[in-house]
Amino acid sequence: MSGSLPPLRIALVGNPNCGKTALFNQLTGSRQKVANYAGVTVERKAGRLITAAGRKVQVLDLPGTYSLAATSPDEAVTRDVCMGVYKGEPAPDLLVSVVAAVNLRLHLRFMLELRQLGRPMIVVLNMIDAIQKQGLAIDVPRLQAELGVPVVTTIGVKRGGAQPLLTALDDPAPAAPAPLPSGTDLHDEVRRILSLCVARVSERRQALEDKLDRWVLHPVWGMCILFVLLFIMFQAVFSWAQPFMDLLDNGMKQLGDFVGTLLPAGALNSLIVDGIIAGAGTVIVFLPQILILFLWILALEESGYLPRAAFMLDKLMASAGLSGRSFIPLLSSFACAVPGIMSTRTIQNPRDRMVTILIAPLMTCSARLPVYALLIGAFVPARHIGGIFNVQGLVLFALYGAAILSALIVARVMKRRDTDEHPLLLELPNYRLPGLQSLAVELWQRTRIFLSRVGSIIVTLSVLLWALSSFPAPPAGATGPAIDYSLAGRIGHLMLPFFQPLGFNWQICVALIPGLAAREVAVSALATVYSVGASEADAASQLTPLLSSQWSLATALSLLAWYVYAPQCFSTLAVIRRETGSWRLVIITAGYLFGMAYAAAFLTYHLTRLISG
């Protein structure tokens, strides 16, 4: 190719809220690769670009930090990569220090700290368009002279706004700056530089932040705003996504039926239709929820609202030992724990993030509703207490309440050994309109990660479960349901002694196995075991009378209690594995959920029997 300029590795470094991510998305567009740094759960974002002169550039977007004195794993990654000591990550050829023009006082301090490393660097003065709004003017040539490194200006959220940086990348690498004498107070140095390079040209106008924050952070109105936003979000994730999910669900079923007619009946047909297509269906059906939730969260984050929501909710979450940041992932988990766990990325503190991931499966997800509806419909009388409260509704409420209470207890226990003071110290960034291109890139990244990483685990497990439930086939002339003769059926029978103390019969044990793939599958699995209608809607209506005649109340309540904890959702475990990169946390989650489910079901079963005689 052009050959004159060797490929370049650059790293974007800067404070949180310096507009680095938007700049990175602008520079690299969809040529990004998001993975984790080896051994830690910190996201490694890398991308490629080619400059006008044909120079290939690899761009690394390092986690934002306020200083090189790291207080969290992601800050440690930034520190180590900048210093060139990160294992498996070659030192970047050029450090691109991104500073927000509107926040020079804070961001220049970190830039000077980076400069002390004595590595080649350039400074990007980002959000240069917002500087007039603050009534300030920056003397860029003077700033460049004072800092002793090249300075370019960009507008990260505007198309073409990164051009000056691209042009600068074609220049020969700047010489490494000479460090300031050791012991220099960086704050004093920033003040000196600012006094030389920044001039006030008009009255200060931070009117937008002043006006909005008066409402948004107000103890009463702020809570109302938050409540309305969360309500709309919850509605969007919970019900607006439903038609799309049904559409995808039906589409996959029709695809399965269509493919089923093409292939001769037999094991191959069943593998493709019931194993692979049905498994992929379970994955794809999550997409509408994930897209809507992430669009919402990304927009809230980019606009600067999310940290303010964390501010409003911090005290509430502190009672569980968490911070305000945990609230939205937990709330989303009521729709489904999979997107909820994926959204814990906005929690900076790694320990808070881990505890949030651990308790997210306790937020009663929508997949448990079909099971609740079936059992409550069959066993709880539709009576009214005091003329207002429907007993069925009360039971449902109690199930949700029990789950939340358990989550609080688990969080407290997990945080008990943790005596360190975890600071809030949260920056409330300026409000800004989210850039559409940046939103689209981020959304696409999340989707890709979900489909490839989480999807592959779920499809594999679905195929495995299909095999367990299909083989061996029932012998000729068999009268019982086919699943009873399969490996899953046998395992179900083997499980019986273990689950009998909970009042579970062998039908429940067998139904629990396909229910591993998705919780609501347990309903249709029960239908299969009891040899009634196959589709979910039929199943529920035909099962209701059957179950109420065959099961005791104690068994039904025990199964309900089991489902409050429902440790058997593979999709949740798969996403935990993907998000934390650790099987240990997966085992801990499955283990404690299983233990609590067993204990709760055991107590429920025996207490009900005692009371009802």
Partner: protein, 84 residues
């Protein structure tokens, strides 16, 4: 007077940061965030539950701090001084 004792929309000037221990990471981080002697700080809001955390403005930046964090910041003048 400490930052957490400042009332809503009043301003104080930072005198010093009090580290609770020689290796107080929070005091160190406060310094890095620009909470340094001589800087004026204005209280923007208090949290809805029990007035904790609090939101303050320093320079052009706004931060949310828990009151225990704000208590490390000792102010020079009582209050009422306009932002420069």
């Amino acid at each position: 007077m400490r930052l957490n004792q400042l009332s809503l929309r009043s301003t104080g000037v930072i005198d010093r940061i009090e580290a609770l221990s020689p290796s107080d990471a929070i005091a160190q981080r406060l310094n890095e965030l620009g909470f340094v002697p001589g800087e004026p700080v204005t209280v923007i809001a208090f949290g809805p539950l029990g007035g904790d955390p609090m939101a303050v403005e320093i320079g052009f930046t706004r931060f949310a701090l828990r009151c225990s964090e704000a208590a490390r910041i000792i102010l020079r003048t009582p209050q009422g001084e306009p932002v420069a």
